[in-house]
Subunit: 195 residues, 2 copies
DNA sequence: CCTACCGATCGGTAGG
DNA sequence: CCTACCGATCGGTAGG
């Protein structure tokens, strides 16, 4: 299959991401999903995906993988805590603007995963957060960051980025650079020692 | 009725807030809500509330009112932008820790409101955000805040406070003062001109 | 507050 | 990919 060819499964998963972000996972029905991908019957969906939750899992884990890969690369190629946190903020901004609906589901609908997927997902999230926190701690130890509690700083920064996927629409791409600059100003200089 | 007496309706609404925050509005069933307040039959709930959505409306609008009242009082009693933003951050921290489940529903489940309640709710939220933004703009004009886009600053600050209601449990009350200090350090000094 | 019940809708299966 | 269909569950009503 050519690289630019989407499988029908991919089309279904992307439509599911949009539907889940529009209505929430529980309020989204397989009948509406079928309609959105041009199928008359919900039952036809089951030729492409095994279940409603499989769609949710694919979306959640694909995004988790994206963030884990991102931080892995940053750890390997950037070596100064300030620059690492900046790169992580960029990672979140890019994820939120490149793949809007998918990140919305990843942020808001993961709790509808059932076990064992739920625990696996939370383990990935915890891994990511611990590594992010470690970077903050390095910056505190080397004196470039304020002596704040690194857990508080972590959550404030991660949470402070979670409005972007709501706000962003493709016609706002020209404003992206301003958003990026202002967010860096607000979140990084809040963290940095400035004297 | 004495002030410390809860009506059964209030008990139902509070249990609904907890249930909606545990499962999400759509996945929460009236049968489970009945069980949580000691009723055998879901139908018995309808002696206290008119519908599932009425419970959601009460929760969302009670919290909206709390934030509107809070900013109204801050506008009337605090006059310097830095102190006003600090007071607003305190307002959010207090709401998130005094009324955890209720704020969770207010933050995450309002979109399940149907019209006309949805539009009324969004109008209240917009009013609150505009007044918060106005305070930020005043601070920028008077030179105490950086020249950032005030919409971006507004969303970054509001969003940056939205992890607290997840993190907070009553046994963490002793850590609250540290959280408050660190959040002020991160969000306020990110906004302030520091030279 | 309970009994009895309703129509609607849900995710999913069997079989072709 | 559709036809036909299933058992389960939903929010809510009527009546006492």
């Amino acid at each position: 299959m050519a690289a630019n060819q989407k499988t029908k499964k991919q089309i279904v998963i992307e439509a599911a991401a949009k539907l889940f972000s529009d209505k929430g996972y529980s309020a989204a029905s397989m009948r509406e999903l079928a309609g959105r991908v041009g199928l008359e019957q919900a039952s036809s969906l089951y030729n492409h995906i095994r279940s409603k939750e499989e769609a949710l899992q694919e979306i959640c884990f694909e995004n988790a993988r994206k963030f884990i890969d991102g931080i892995t690369q940053i750890e390997a190629t950037v070596f100064e805590p300030v620059q690492q946190v900046k790169a992580l903020i960029d990672l979140h901004i890019q994820a939120a603007t490149n793949d809007i609906t998918s990140v919305t589901v990843f942020n808001d609908e993961w709790r509808h995963l059932s076990e064992p997927a739920l625990s696996e997902f939370l383990a990935l999230r915890k891994d990511y957060e611990e590594r992010f926190k470690e970077i903050i701690n390095k910056g505190i130890q080397s004196g470039v960051f304020k002596e704040v509690n690194s857990t508080i700083a972590l959550h404030t920064i991660l949470s402070g980025l979670k409005w972007i996927h709501y706000w962003y629409k493709p016609d706002r791409s020209s404003e992206l650079e301003i958003v990026r600059n202002d967010i860096m100003l607000l979140l990084i200089s809040g963290l940095e020692v400035n004297d």
